[in-house]
Amino acid sequence: MSIFGLFRKNKSAPMARERLQVLLAHERASAGSDLVSILREEILAVIAKHVELDADRVHVKMDRDENMSILEIDVEIPLKAALQAA
């Protein structure tokens, strides 16, 4: 530690804030609540009835802010299946 380090420690609160923002963005998006996984399963089942798709290419995400939650559903449909459906 340099001699200045004795007098001026780095501020730790901004680190706490940044680490939390990164971590919580991840936690809210992934495991998060049971609701997201239930929705994912059911949405997947509905779409799979009509188009062939890869279960790993379905992303369901819930974002939250003060007034509302946003449910984001991202389904990638393979080109072959898309042509059949058209």
Partner: protein
């Protein structure tokens, strides 16, 4: 019909029980009929903080299992005649709480009291989800510290999914209660600031309780801090929070800004 509040946090030791006692007493000091309910079965402490530990005869589990009537289990506060405590059981465990039993007790309490304040156990298990189940609004107690903020975020998720309100598709009213706040350390950059926590959790603020020896002194004496010393900084913060819960719009003050009357007259510090 009374309103049901759950005081919750996920993390232990952040001030749920202290806040339950202080908010309950503050509301009762304003003339409301209040009952505080301890949901921490097996590790009850609300009785101790309220100074009623030697008066517990029956508890929540006795009522749920039909071994006692609600009126037998309720303990009237010695200082405030409109403040009551429903203690938790110390000897049994939380599996004795049934959903139907809790439904019945809360419904009965709502008929008699203006406010039913449920002190949640720490964690996200059954005890915590039962405590939040009937809530009309939630007070999320958080310390300006990473693990507490993370756990609060998790609890907010549960409040939006595991409560009766959420199941009915209604919006749960959530309020952030920031406790053990030290404005000097926050200003120095060694503690998360109010705005940091608000931005991360994005729920409205109901109060900021300063870190203070008055809180410990009150619990040593077995009195809610608003009763032990109504003029101390944490008590004033709890009184204001109680008024906000009743729907009043009050500007939030950050306690510990020790500018006296001169500071107020001459405005904020220069720079």
């Amino acid at each position: 019909m009374g309103k049901v509040i759950v005081v919750t946090s996920g993390k232990g030791g952040v001030g749920k029980t202290t806040s339950t006692a202080a908010l309950g007493a503050a509301l009762a000091q304003n003339g409301e009929r209040v009952v505080v309910v301890d949901f921490d079965v097996g590790l009850r402490n609300l009785d101790l903080v309220m100074g009623a530990e030697r008066r517990v005869v029956y508890d929540l589990v006795n009522v749920i299992q039909g071994e006692a009537k609600l009126t037998q289990a309720l303990i009237r506060d010695k200082r405030l005649e409109n403040l009551f405590l429903l203690p938790a059981s110390q000897t049994r465990d939380k599996d004795n709480l049934t959903t139907e039993g809790v439904d019945r007790v809360i419904t009965e309490l709502k008929r008699v009291f203006d406010w039913v304040i449920c002190d949640s156990p720490a964690g996200i298990e059954r005890g915590a989800t039962l405590a939040m189940r009937h809530a009309d609004m939630a007070v999320v107690v958080t310390n300006p510290e990473v693990s507490s903020v993370r756990d609060s975020d998790r609890i907010i998720g549960l409040l939006d999914s595991k409560t009766l309100k959420a199941e009915r598709g209604e919006r749960m009213e959530k309020h952030l209660m920031l406790t053990r706040y030290d404005s000097v350390r926050a200003e120095r950059g060694d503690m998360l600031k109010v705005d940091d926590v608000l931005e991360i959790l994005s729920i409205p603020l109901v109060g900021i309780i300063p870190e203070s020896s008055d809180v410990l002194r009150a619990s040593n004496m077995g009195a809610p801090v608003t009763l032990a010393d109504a003029r101390c900084a944490p008590a004033m913060a709890y009184f204001e929070a109680a008024r906000r819960l009743r729907g009043e719009q009050l500007p939030i003050t950050i306690p510990g800004d020790k500018r006296g009357i001169f500071g107020k007259i001459f405005g904020r510090k220069a720079a």
